[in-house]
Symmetry: C2
Subunit: 407 residues, 2 copies
């Protein structure tokens, strides 16, 4: 006996280049099932649920959905609301009123936790209901998953940015520091390593939140690279912390903004990059110190996407609908690497994913804590997708000097 | 009687996505001429000339040159040196020693000025010599030219960045301010306007160095947009100035770095964006204020290029070689728009381009000084090249409320 009722889908947290693929996967698949009496989309994530703000996605053409799937950011809009028990009760009340029987929430570990709480509450009632979390985050920090949809495209952006930044730094030498997103997990910063082709290519130094960051060590590292190559390209995670796990950015600014989850604002400001650049200016006798903060472009730039990421994002959405509508199951859809390279999708208990953070495993970080290992490069490469190009350089020999002028 | 001797090519100033196309255009074309006894590339621009640091580009395969043409940044490396008379004499001495008879310098208005000085000095001697300036700058600020190679690709990057930033801001509403390169000319910042598709799309406000910037007017504009749309996306040129033409960034920081041309450092720091964001935070009661500084990605990001820009960059290089080697002429190669859309290339006296800055014409800026006109959009569109996509959004209708909860 199939559970008749409506499907509700929502998107939470920060946008990605492929989160709309998952949305479209859920919608197209759900619309095929006869027990589904309607497919709604919540506007602004859970915020739209408590506010009873839904779009009727049975009136959306397949053609337009396929166009929207290609667009970065959350087409249903998003929210940073982190529901507590009361908030979830309110969501449940609204969903009951609309006879929602299947709830799909596309998001990160906070969104998984929301699904977990709602599901707990429903289980305590006699309302029949399925809730599935669909993974999404550029941070790649969900437990159980080999990687998460959104990461591959953001990683590709970061790698392509560093290919260019390295060439730029080679043309006009100096120290270049780029700050990359990633509060607690350095996966996205680590992706900068895939920019290297020639042995002297940058980034020459990579700093991750998984290892304590020391300004002294950083300055020593920069000095060493600069003395060797006459230039230095550095990738730094916005979330780097000192030995006591205090974010480096808080050691420099008086007031920091906090989001509703109590997290301090790391993105949308260039302060960390400027601080590190100032340290190099003050302590090392090097000209031309520049810093960039990649900012929101990493997750929303239009026109840099991994096709592997697109496919997987579509499939986790489609799979979520199949688990719920064919098999009447709850959980979190997770991605598992099979061979080199393919993936399987499984349904994992929400408790194993919700509210937890995966960090970079030790074998992906070098002993010095200022670079990644080849194991990480092998891990990441397939996620960048097809058509990932590398740089070329001139190989012409030097002309013998006539006037014997020194460089 | 053909002038026999060597060809020397160099790249100057900030890298672009297509400057290597021009290099390859010069090299491939020059290598066809029997009067050319060698093709040299100066390493690090004019710096490499005074230091007698040349690559022998007759030993570079055509195949590798074609790969290098696709790579951003300057394959021969670059310099910020701005030669004076003495420096140019030294260049001349080195070029004479190597029997260089044809000099091609790919760069902006400063590079054109270098070519002009060198040419003046040579004319005063009895040394037969041709010198040609090949246009390049993402700033699009060269006189005489309809536009410059490098601009189209950088403009495409900026437009694609704002398409994503606008979608991101729609999903998680607030005020988003992005700082775009352009010291004296706002062409690159203006390109953000091409990101708009739907009537409420951002950027909602565009501030250019061509109009005096007032913090009060800025805050009033942001307030107005935010009250209308519940969000606001702003594009700001790094070079915005107050009514007395003092850069806004200098009104906020105590010490600013200056380059050898006496220009203050505007790029490679997030300070202007952070300042403007702080103004909004302090004076308007709006949550979620973010700023990004696009930084070096605009000119060096690998994988965002306009094919029109590529073709034209190749052709100005090829044309330069033809003017000098077939026709024994000096000057600056300039681009002229023909119809809608094609271009012609002409040779313009160096004096008309050297050291001058073109700014955005009045008809491209709206009366309020906070946006561009449709005329500008028509001007820019062909330069972005083929395959420039736009965003799509869901069109599904709202579901009638049952609980009648207000948003």
């Amino acid at each position: 006996m199939k559970l008749h009722g409506k499907v509700l889908v929502a998107q939470g947290g920060g946008p990605t280049a492929v989160i709309n693929q998952s949305l479209v996967g859920v919608v197209l698949e759900s619309r095929k099932f006869s027990q589904v009496t309607g497919v709604y989309g919540a506007v602004y994530g859970v915020h739209g649920i408590v506010n009873e703000d839904f779009l009727d996605l049975t009136l959306e053409t397949t053609h337009n959905l396929e166009q929207v799937a290609l667009i970065p950011s959350s087409a249903l809009f998003s929210t940073r609301d982190k529901p507590d028990e009361k908030y979830c009760q309110e969501m449940f009340r609204v969903m009951q009123a609309h006879d929602v029987r299947y709830f799909f929430y596309i998001g990160g570990n906070d969104s998984a936790d929301t699904v977990r709480i709602v599901n707990q509450q429903v289980k305590a009632s006699d309302y029949e209901f399925r809730a599935i979390h669909i993974p999404k985050t550029i941070d790649n920090d969900l437990m159980v998953n080999d990687h998460t949809p959104g990461y591959g495209s953001a990683a590709r952006f970061v790698a392509q940015a560093f290919i260019g930044a390295n060439l730029d730094n080679a043309a006009l030498p100096g120290v270049y520091i780029a700050v990359v997103m990633g509060r607690n997990a350095g996966f996205l910063t680590a992706a900068s390593a895939l920019a290297r082709k020639y042995p002297d290519d940058g980034p020459h130094l990579i700093y991750l939140p998984e290892r304590p960051f020391s300004i002294d060590k950083f300055l020593k590292d920069v000095r060493g690279v600069y003395d060797k190559y006459g230039r230095c390209v550095v990738a730094v995670s916005e979330g780097i912390q000192d030995a006591s796990r205090k974010p480096i950015v808080t050691t420099l600014v008086d007031t920091v903004e906090k989001d509703p989850h109590g997290n301090i604002q790391l993105s949308g400001t260039g302060v960390l990059g400027d601080l590190l650049a100032n340290q190099v200016k003050q302590h090392l006798n090097i000209k031309r110190i520049r810093s960039d903060t990649f900012g929101y472009l990493q997750r929303s730039f239009f026109g840099c996407v991994s096709d592997v990421d697109q496919h997987e994002a579509r499939e986790v959405g489609e799979n979520a609908a199949q688990f719920a509508l064919w098999h009447n199951l709850d959980g979190s859809v997770t991605i598992h690497r099979i061979g080199s390279y393919s993936v399987d999708y499984r349904l994992t208990p929400l408790e194993e994913v919700a509210g937890k953070t995966r960090r970079i495993p030790d074998e992906f970080i070098n002993d010095e804590g200022n670079d990644v290992t080849d194991e990480f490069r092998v891990y990441l490469r397939p996620l960048l997708g097809s058509g990932f190009q590398s740089a070329y350089r001139l190989r012409a020999p030097r002309v013998p000097k006539i006037l014997k002028k020194d460089k």
